[in-house]
């Protein structure tokens, strides 16, 4: 117990002192996860919207496929991307392996299905009368789509926040595609795993505290958005 308490207090001091190494790790984590979330949103939201709002053939199959992809382990995605970007892979000449770009690609693949699936759920929940009302008031297909999108905005925002929460806390992709290089591709989760291996708990617990604080912030934001959506 005293060991845990000691580690916890040291971690708090480390976090409070804004240790440069800790800050670098947090910065890398946030920038990689934010960029992956932005790119995935740019693809996932329109895709989810098109699937939910449009009259696509095989819609149910696509939704089933997306739901299946939600359960894909991060290490499988890591392995899959590795095959393509390793020296022997078709994208080998681009020198992506063990870079932040590779991590972003992997995380992008991880959360595109999540954002698309949650966008589909959010758009499907939008009352059908919004579409009918927009049409009878003279809106064309594009304007009607924008109305539906606006009415589903809180659900979509929740999808993006969920996706960010997923990538900031994943480890498989970051470890396999980033390589855990100090100051470059070391993220909070990979650093915590390394510190654990070394038996040095102070930095690991400090990073854990930061990660938990971020998760708490995301959840508070998520609940605020959900609350507003249900009003």
């Amino acid at each position: 117990m005293s060991f845990f308490l000691e580690s916890f207090l040291s971690a708090c001091r480390l976090a409070w002192s804004l240790n440069p190494e800790l800050l670098t790790i947090v910065r890398v984590s946030l920038s990689v996860s934010c960029l992956a979330t932005v790119f995935a949103s740019l693809v996932g939201i329109p895709a989810g919207f098109a699937i939910a709002h449009g009259r696509l053939p095989g819609k149910r199959i696509i939704i089933t496929l997306l739901n299946t992809l939600l359960a894909l382990p991060t290490v499988v995605i890591g392995l899959f991307v590795y095959v393509f970007i390793s020296r022997r892979g078709i994208f080998g000449p681009l020198d992506l392996l063990y870079t932040q770009k590779a991590m972003i690609i992997g995380q992008f693949i991880l959360i595109v299905p999540l954002i698309a699936a949650l966008t589909i759920a959010a758009i499907s929940r939008v009352d059908e009368r919004y579409r009918k009302t927009a049409k009878t008031l003279g809106a064309n297909a594009w304007q009607t789509g924008l109305v539906v999108l606006r009415e589903g905005r809180f659900g979509i925002a929740a999808a993006v926040i969920s996706a960010f929460g997923r990538v900031i806390s994943e480890i498989g992709i970051s470890m396999m595609l980033g390589g855990n290089i100090k100051g470059f591709t070391r993220t909070m989760t990979t650093a915590m795993a390394l510190e654990y291996d070394k038996g040095s708990f102070t930095l690991a617990v400090a990073l854990g505290l930061v990660l938990m604080a971020i998760s708490l912030g995301i959840n508070v934001l998520f609940n605020l958005i959900q609350g507003r959506s249900s009003r």
Partner: protein
């Protein structure tokens, strides 16, 4: 020229026929009531008239021009016809933005938009809610806002699906007077659906009846679920809604000993008498008068004979009889007053 003309219009949902109209013409500039029970196809017809649904077959003319099921053409037509739902939904923005929506789409300038929003809010009596969130309005206010959102676009046709069904009496009166005002001042054609025969009679200049997706020649009022009891000989007793018994002049189709079905008693084929008439081929009964109302050339009399029976008599007969509310009166059904309805 008729505003709408529909020929052989058929609409199906999952193989089930929702609407099957052989021929229908609707004149412009008037208020039309669309009467019918639940599932009669009223909302489907409104959606088709509002160009929100395309029928699976049939031809439709609007202002003498054939309606082409092409998006561009339908969009142009939709901008002349606005439908107000029975349970209208407001965009999750302010009252002002909700009303502005259709005008923005029509690219009307901001200053004109604001002037028109102010005017229409004044008309529907919601000026004080201009900046309020639309979702915060009550049911009656929402209905009025939905009307405002439609009226601000000055449509040629205003379609209203049960405009007063889910609002209180105060809001009902406001909505009815608003519809009359819009029709009188702007000449807007108004087509509204209702279950309420009295409302249809008081508000509309023309009434259309739908039953099982088809245009009906008679009102569905005086339609009752009943049980037929075949007595010895050819006499058949009919128990209306398990309460009131009448004798049928002719047996219903098929003759099991006890049979259930629906009958319709034509309101104009019931004769009122001060004294018990001698039964001839029809059936007689007595009941208290509970409502008297002028309806065009006719007088509507509602008599409680166990079930409420509507009778339509002409004004001369009314002047002769001078019936009063609460008075007991005798009714005689003509031989051809009763018809058997298909289930």
């Amino acid at each position: 020229m008729m505003l709408y003309a529909l020929n052989k219009v058929l609409q199906r949902y999952n193989g089930r026929v929702a609407l099957d109209i052989d021929h229908l013409e609707i004149e412009g500039g008037r208020i039309h009531a669309l009467l019918g029970p639940n599932g009669a196809g009223k909302t489907t017809l409104l959606n088709i008239l509002g160009f929100l649904e395309t029928p699976v077959s049939g031809t439709m003319y609007f202002n003498g021009r054939a309606v082409e099921p092409v998006q561009k053409s339908l969009l142009h037509l939709r901008r002349q016809v606005v439908l107000v739902d029975q349970h209208p939904i407001m965009f999750s923005t302010s009252v002002n933005s909700n009303i502005e929506f259709g005008m923005k789409i029509r690219k009307i300038g901001k200053s004109t938009r604001q002037r028109m929003v102010d005017e229409v809010l004044e008309t529907v009596g919601l000026s004080r809610y201009k900046t309020a969130r639309a979702h915060e309005l009550s049911g009656g206010e929402t209905q009025r806002l939905a009307l405002a959102r439609a009226l601000v676009l000055e449509p040629e046709v205003l379609l209203c699906d049960e405009p007063t069904a889910s609002v209180d009496t105060e809001n009902q009166a406001i909505i009815i007077s608003l519809l009359q005002q819009i029709n009188a001042e702007r000449g807007t054609t108004i087509i509204f659906t209702t279950h309420d025969r009295l409302q249809a009679a008081s508000l509309a200049q023309h009434t259309l009846m739908l039953e099982n997706g088809r245009m009906a020649n008679t009102t569905y009022e005086n339609s009752y679920a009943c049980t037929f009891h075949h007595n010895e000989g050819s006499q058949v007793r009919c128990i209306l809604q398990g309460i009131t018994e009448i004798s049928l002049p002719a047996p219903p189709p098929g003759r099991p000993p006890i049979q259930t079905g629906r009958i319709h008693i034509a309101p104009e084929k019931i004769t009122l008498e001060r004294h018990e008439p001698q039964p001839r081929n029809g059936s007689t009964m007595a009941g208290a008068i509970i409502l008297l109302m002028a309806e065009g050339e006719k007088i509507r009399v509602v008599v409680n004979v166990g079930v409420l029976l509507v009778v339509l008599i002409d004004q001369a007969r009314y002047a002769e009889l001078r019936p009063a509310i609460g008075e007991t009166i005798c009714l005689r059904l003509e031989a051809d007053a009763i018809s058997f309805l298909q289930e």
